[in-house]
């Protein structure tokens, strides 16, 4: 009986992994780096995490959870509340419809898939933010941010893959 409870707890804990890891990455990304200029283009680790789990375990990162993650990110970073939620939900939706394609193929294809998602996310974020501020904000920082995220993608993806294999398989 006791074993059953512990097993259940263990199971729940493991199933919470995608959510917990995404929140953790969100907080890590917020740490002050003291590197001039990096803060502006700090890669959106959260988007990488959402992308990864949407492909590999969408059953553990439901759309509503993705939405909550987006709201949390907005509240923490000072963006208009709902902006990241919007971007994450759209990204998740797109990934989910193309999931089969991403799953079956090589890492390179996943990377190029992320490149597209990151670019689209940057454009949406920029457009919606400009609308909400009623001014045309420069696109350059958002563009650089997306480029950097694409460039470093293998590293966080590798970490997520290790975590995935260690706890969820």
């Amino acid at each position: 009986m006791a074993v059953g409870i512990w097993q259940k707890l263990d199971h729940t804990g493991r199933n919470l992994l995608p959510f917990a890891v995404t929140v953790l990455l969100m907080l890590v990304a917020m740490a002050p780096t003291h590197v001039p200029g990096l803060g502006m283009v700090a890669p959106p680790l959260t988007l990488i995490s959402v992308f990864y789990w949407a492909i590999h375990r969408p059953d553990l990162l439901r759309p509503s959870v993705v939405f909550v993650l987006g709201v949390l990110q907005d509240l923490l970073t000072g963006l208009p509340v709902g902006l990241s939620a919007l971007v994450f939900v759209i990204a998740y939706w797109v990934v989910l419809t193309q999931r089969r394609f991403f799953l079956g193929n090589s890492f390179l294809l996943m990377w190029s898939g992320f490149a597209m998602i990151a670019a689209a996310a940057a454009v949406i974020q920029w457009a919606v933010y400009s609308l909400s501020q009623v001014t045309l904000v420069g696109f350059k920082p958002a563009g650089f941010q997306a480029l950097l995220a694409i460039a470093i993608f293998p590293l966080p993806a590798w970490v997520l893959m290790r975590l995935h294999r260690a706890f969820l398989s």
Partner: protein, 291 residues
């Protein structure tokens, strides 16, 4: 009776539920947009939510920021080792120059004191500092804010000026119980009335998310010399006059301001309460002069 009721509920609910399922993503997108509108209509509510959430994760952010600061320190240490000799030389020269300035300052202070006593000058209330550590720099492409470890229980209030070293870095926009958020002067939404040091010309310092905010509403024909210092003017009552902000820089016909402080390397900030708005801020600009 009950059975028939629940039956009709199911009859209505089932298709609704199917519809929700089918348009789940659209619904979420719609809710996100609605949230943005709510944020625009009721900023106080959103600010409270932000303060709560920031308070909740502040301890974690605090823990994360320490190793990051250590790494930054190690890198900085290595950099300093390389430039040790040149730095020493520069500091010696600067020290000699500053000692001369110190003599001047002491003389002026004495003179100022005696003149004030002649005029029966009523000094402004002393300002007080709260020093807080920077625990998060959310960054991103669109906002320039910092989260620091001081909140309502430490006496932080909305609108207080945030200073570091010799210059203004921003102002407090959101206060939680033990954490608060600072809007940097480089943020898109930051507008600070300033005055140029030599020409005494007023202008508006307007952040545009770049590292160097722009100087706007300068009348035509005003000559801005590069390196001229920019101070808060105190207009609008947000900041007291005389806080140093940065140095002017003319760049392709646009006047931009290089902040006094390197905003990327902030580790601690001082949140300053000036007593009444419009306090004598020149004193506050030099923390040593407070005691």
């Amino acid at each position: 009776m009950k059975g028939r009721n629940s039956g009709s509920v199911v009859r209505i609910a089932a298709p609704v539920w199917a519809l929700v399922q089918r348009f789940y993503f659209l619904l979420l997108i719609f809710v996100a947009i609605a949230l943005m509108m709510v944020g625009r209509m009721d900023p106080v509510l959103v600010d409270q939510a932000r303060a709560r959430v920031t308070d909740a994760v502040a301890p974690i952010l605090d823990a994360f920021s320490r190793p990051a600061a250590t790494v930054a320190n190690v890198i900085e240490y290595g950099r300093q080792l390389v430039e040790l000799h040149a730095e020493n030389q520069r500091l010696r020269e600067e020290n000699a120059r500053l000692q001369q300035w110190q003599q001047v300052a002491l003389r002026l202070e004495a003179e100022n004191g005696s003149l004030r006593s002649l005029l029966a000058y009523k000094p402004d209330p002393a300002s007080s500092f709260i020093t807080a550590r920077v625990i998060a720099d959310p960054g991103g492409a669109f906002v320039r804010t910092l989260v620091v470890t001081a909140g309502r229980r430490d006496g932080v209030k909305r609108g207080q000026a945030a200073m570091a070293g010799q210059g203004l870095v921003g102002r407090v926009v959101q206060v939680g119980e033990w954490s608060s958020r600072i809007l940097l002067i480089t943020d898109l939404n930051a507008r600070i009335p300033v005055v140029l040091e030599t020409s005494r010309q007023r202008a508006m310092l307007s952040g545009d998310n770049s590292d160097r905010p722009r100087l706007m509403y300068l009348p035509r024909g005003v000559e801005v010399t590069a390196g001229e210092r920019i101070f808060t003017s105190g207009h609008g009552g947000l900041f007291p006059p005389g806080l140093p902000v940065g140095m002017a820089q003319v760049d392709q016909g646009q006047v931009r301001v290089v902040p006094m402080v390197d905003l990327a390397r902030l580790e601690h900030v001082q949140l300053v309460d000036f007593g009444i708005p419009g306090g004598l801020a020149a004193e506050a600009a030099q923390p040593g002069a407070m005691k």
